[in-house]
Symmetry: C2
Subunit: 215 residues, 2 copies
């Protein structure tokens, strides 16, 4: 059996578990968001700021994936979010089975939105369906302008890009927002971008509106 | 044949090609550095600044890996560095075979140092030996404090960590350099860290000294 066969078999099994997760989520009336991005793109900060902005409007839960530590889940819990940590060990992405196991510990009926905060990585997380309804990619303005072109699959599969850490723009004279938007437009079929800062609150309400529409 | 067998066979084949690459590099008297880090950690900027600082002292070459585009190789060539682009397609890391093929186009005798700028990813690049002599990890201060704990294998295998974009520190009130150093010390067997800014030149000379010692 060659490498490709094994890979295909893994992805087929993943797909069927993802469909199972999706049924669970639909039955509970929960919108599931696969939140992806580089290490340090600010995914956890996005969730903290979104939860603050949502107040009593929407109840948010999260499954936080990392190779090691439960740091993100603990940060989210401290922000009042029902959060479950999933450690992938050496694996560079979450898969549907890991999410399925985490769901068994999760009170889905208590939340309207479930974010799956994926492992920080702009490559493999895009390939593994987890059972989400939508994909959101957090891209920090500190990462430079050409990341969408260098990691096209991630952005081709995104329903929304959050351009994070925009509060740092005045200190990044060589970063052009226009160039980032142009790069996104070249790889994302229906470009949808929200500028976001967890520090000054930019984009939080816009993101909440987008989530409500998606739900 | 199970997934693990296939993975082991791939890694064993990779190891033998890496050893072959290493022999090439040793025969040419070239120090080969595997430069890893997140997308947007500033790996290309490190090479541009290092090349500027090296002047006629050291001749630098680079193999620049990315899923798509030859943006980095073109930036490096514009900085006077002999550079070869390698596209990995959907693969989240370089492997020894891709580097071997790139070496066939490379004038190794013209350089003292060969940087392999790996795909932006804090996970899988750490597992694939390319034939390098040393591993250097670029970690941007904008990525937050706990990345070494979340991606321990990358830092456990590093010979040096370059803490990049330190010029932005005044604008990151919640980032403590001490906390980053502490996190590195918990996972890196012999912690060695240089603060680096491609913008203001911090750390360039220190990095060049480190490279000369390693050579």
């Amino acid at each position: 059996m060659c490498k490709v066969d094994v890979q295909e078999r893994i992805l087929a099994k993943n797909e069927s578990t993802a469909d199972h997760n999706r049924s669970h989520m639909r039955a509970a009336g929960v919108l599931c968001v696969n939140l992806m991005g580089s290490p340090g793109a600010g995914k956890t900060a996005v969730l903290e700021a979104t939860s603050r902005g949502a107040s009593n409007d929407l109840s948010i839960g999260a499954i936080a994936g990392d190779l090691a530590t439960d740091n993100d889940a603990r940060r989210l819990q401290a922000a009042g979010i029902q959060a479950e940590a999933v450690n992938t060990g050496s694996m560079c992405h979450l898969d549907a089975e890991l999410v399925h196991r985490a769901l068994h510990h999760f009170r889905l009926d208590d939340v309207d939105l479930l974010f799956i905060e994926n492992v920080g990585n702009l490559v493999c997380p895009a390939v593994y369906d987890l059972g989400q309804a939508v994909n959101v990619v957090a891209l920090s303005v500190t990462e430079g302008e050409d990341k969408p072109l260098k990691y096209p699959t991630m952005f081709a599969k995104a329903d929304l890009v959050l351009l994070t850490k925009t509060d740092l723009l005045p200190h990044l004279p060589n970063v052009s927002m226009q160039a980032i938007h142009d790069a996104i437009a070249r790889v994302m079929p229906r470009p949808r971008v929200i500028s976001f800062s967890a520090v000054d609150g930019t984009g939080v309400n816009q993101f909440l509106e987008w989530l409500k529409e998606a739900a």
